[in-house]
């Protein structure tokens, strides 16, 4: 027969458990402090649940978009040996001809870009890439504008978004809006980017060049010339702009060609998406080295 337990037998362990829980609770409160006060109100549910890991997810989705752009062909990476029977078999199995998606099939990459921006709203490059394809290959500048407006809401101080919106405004012949957006871009430049970085400086020269062209179109030659000079200062190697400054100083008038110039330099006219030749290494760089300040760096993924 089991001995009957006294009521008092439970008091000590329950008391000790409560005490320990109280200590743990107060320590947790102290460790946490009042962090909840500093949580930005605009954080989405995904941001709160996934924390920083959403950036990694976003990057994975962005890489997936890149894979789709190359029709499932992965990057060629350096290998310590290539004569293995498994490698030879895998070479046959995996997609290996080198092509890029063109035209409407480009829309297949959009879900992954959308997933990227949902996961990581700070990934401005993903927004710009989405806007680029919507505007160029799919001929939907209205959707591109929507994407950029969302990018601006999430990243209000990023000059790249204003700069891209200016391009769309110009494409729609809304020059005054384009000018306002370029002013805004210039105000927030370099945003979170390194001001000494080559790409950031290139972007600045693009903003200034666009402003210059808009001034020239309005007939304000002096303002345009001043801006073009700034571009030459920023990028002394830019022969095209240097020649233009020289010509303008000699009294040449380019204003009738400005819209065409903008299109040529900044991609207003859509270029066909190229298809690599058979046997090309996919591991190529899409940032073509142009003489002028062309900017499709963001757009090829």
């Amino acid at each position: 027969m089991k001995p009957k337990r006294k009521y008092g037998d439970w008091v000590l362990p329950i008391g000790a458990a409560l005490l320990l829980w109280g200590v743990a609770f107060s320590m947790a409160c102290r460790l946490e402090g009042n962090r909840f006060v500093s949580v930005p109100i605009e954080q989405s549910f995904l941001e709160r649940v996934l924390g920083v890991s959403r950036v990694a997810f976003g990057q994975t989705f962005f890489e997936q978009a890149d894979l789709y752009f190359h029709q499932g062909v992965g990057y060629v990476r350096q290998q310590a040996f290539t004569n293995s029977v498994f490698i030879r078999a895998y070479e046959v199995i995996r997609p290996s001809a080198h092509a890029h998606t063109t035209g409407y099939t480009v829309s297949e990459i959009l879900p992954w870009l959308q997933f990227t921006t949902r996961m990581d709203p700070k990934n401005v490059t993903a927004y710009l890439t989405t806007a680029y394809w919507l505007r160029s290959a799919l001929r939907r500048p209205d959707l591109a504008e929507q994407v950029l407006l969302e990018a601006q809401r999430k990243n209000p101080y990023d000059y790249r978004v204003y700069n891209e919106r200016a391009r769309i405004a110009f494409q729609r012949r809304d020059d005054s809006r384009a000018a306002r957006l370029l002013d805004a871009a210039l105000k927030v430049w370099p945003s979170n980017e390194d001001p000494e970085d080559e790409q950031t400086l290139l972007d600045l020269s693009v903003i200034l060049s666009r402003q210059a062209i808009l001034y020239e179109m309005k007939g304000e030659r002096d303002a345009a010339l001043a801006l073009f000079r700034k571009v030459v200062e920023l990028r002394p190697g830019n022969v095209a702009v240097a020649r233009r400054v020289e010509a303008m100083e000699q009294g040449m008038d380019y204003s009738h060609l400005d819209r065409k110039t903008w299109d040529i330099l900044f991609g207003g006219t859509d270029k066909p998406v190229h298809v690599c030749g058979e046997g090309d290494d996919h591991d190529h760089d899409h940032d073509h080295d142009h003489n002028h300040d062309c900017e499709h760096h963001h757009h090829d993924i």
Binding site: F81, F86, Y90, V92, P95, S107, E108, L110, P111, V147
Partner: protein, 262 residues
């Protein structure tokens, strides 16, 4: 052979009773409907991502089903002590191992076929298309890969509890997918002991990446040559036979302790 078939039929009956398959099917259907309901900028005809994610989950769910079915069989017989009456019948231990594996494999392949049908149905419904020959090749190789997965899990479960066997199997499968295939790249930066270890993994683990034709199916790259298909399938069969031999060796002289496993 009849004894093996009878044993595998028992595995089927148990599977029908259990809810694993239904749960996985419901999960896949839910996922596909979520993907379908996404509004991609109001553009129609965007369907590749549905096929891609659907097939990815078909692989994942097939692996989960294969490991959970195959890993449970032998430890469960021992935990429930039904192994004693089973072995008292005119059944060899080789029959038990083979029957359990065959049942687990055929269940996994049948469920994989269901998953594929579901994904293909949704893709067609959405207005997309899938090359049938490539899809058939992908399914055949997927089925062979599931043969390896189930044989591996049965082999491990001969000496471990269900939980431990499933965990080890998942680790080995993840390693085979994520490390073994990347060893030639990783070796570029490694040398000495680490390099030798990586090489051991490269040749020691099954190359499951060879059985995965998802990229070819999704991006419509067409069928692979028959010779390659046969080579990869034969490679898979060799692995299955090797793992079943290991399973039999691990089981043939095993002493059962009452209540030791479960």
């Amino acid at each position: 052979m009849m004894r093996v078939l009878t044993l595998s039929r028992v595995v089927w009956l148990e599977m029908i009773r259990r809810k694993d398959l239904y749960v996985l099917l419901i999960l896949l259907v839910t996922l596909l409907f979520v993907l379908l309901s996404l509004n991609i900028f109001g553009l129609g005809g965007v369907v590749r991502y549905v096929a891609d994610v659907g097939l990815l989950f078909a692989w994942l769910f097939a692996i989960i089903l294969g490991v959970s079915t195959a890993g449970r069989q032998l430890p469960q017989e021992e935990a429930k002590r039904t192994i004693y009456p089973l072995l008292a019948k005119p059944v060899t231990r080789a029959d038990v191992v083979l029957g359990k594996w065959l049942g687990s494999w055929t269940i996994t392949v049948s469920c994989t076929a269901l998953f594929y049908l579901l994904v293909v149905g949704v893709v067609l419904l959405r207005g997309g298309g899938i090359q049938p020959v490539t899809l058939a090749q992908g399914f055949v190789l997927h089925a062979v890969a599931m043969g390896i997965v189930t044989a591996l899990t049965v082999a491990i479960s001969t000496r471990m509890t269900y939980g431990a066997a499933a965990s080890v199997a998942y680790i080995l499968i993840a390693g085979a997918f994520s490390i073994a295939s990347r060893v030639p790249e990783l070796l570029v930066h490694e040398e000495g002991f680490v390099a030798r270890g990586l090489l051991a993994l490269y040749y020691g683990l099954p190359h499951l990446e060879l059985f995965d034709l998802r990229q070819r199916i999704v991006h419509e790259w067409g069928a692979i040559p028959c010779r390659t298909l046969l080579f990869v399938a034969m490679y898979g069969v060799v692995w299955v036979l090797f793992l079943l031999l290991l399973a039999w060796m691990g089981y043939r002289r095993k002493r059962f302790k009452r209540g030791a496993l479960g």
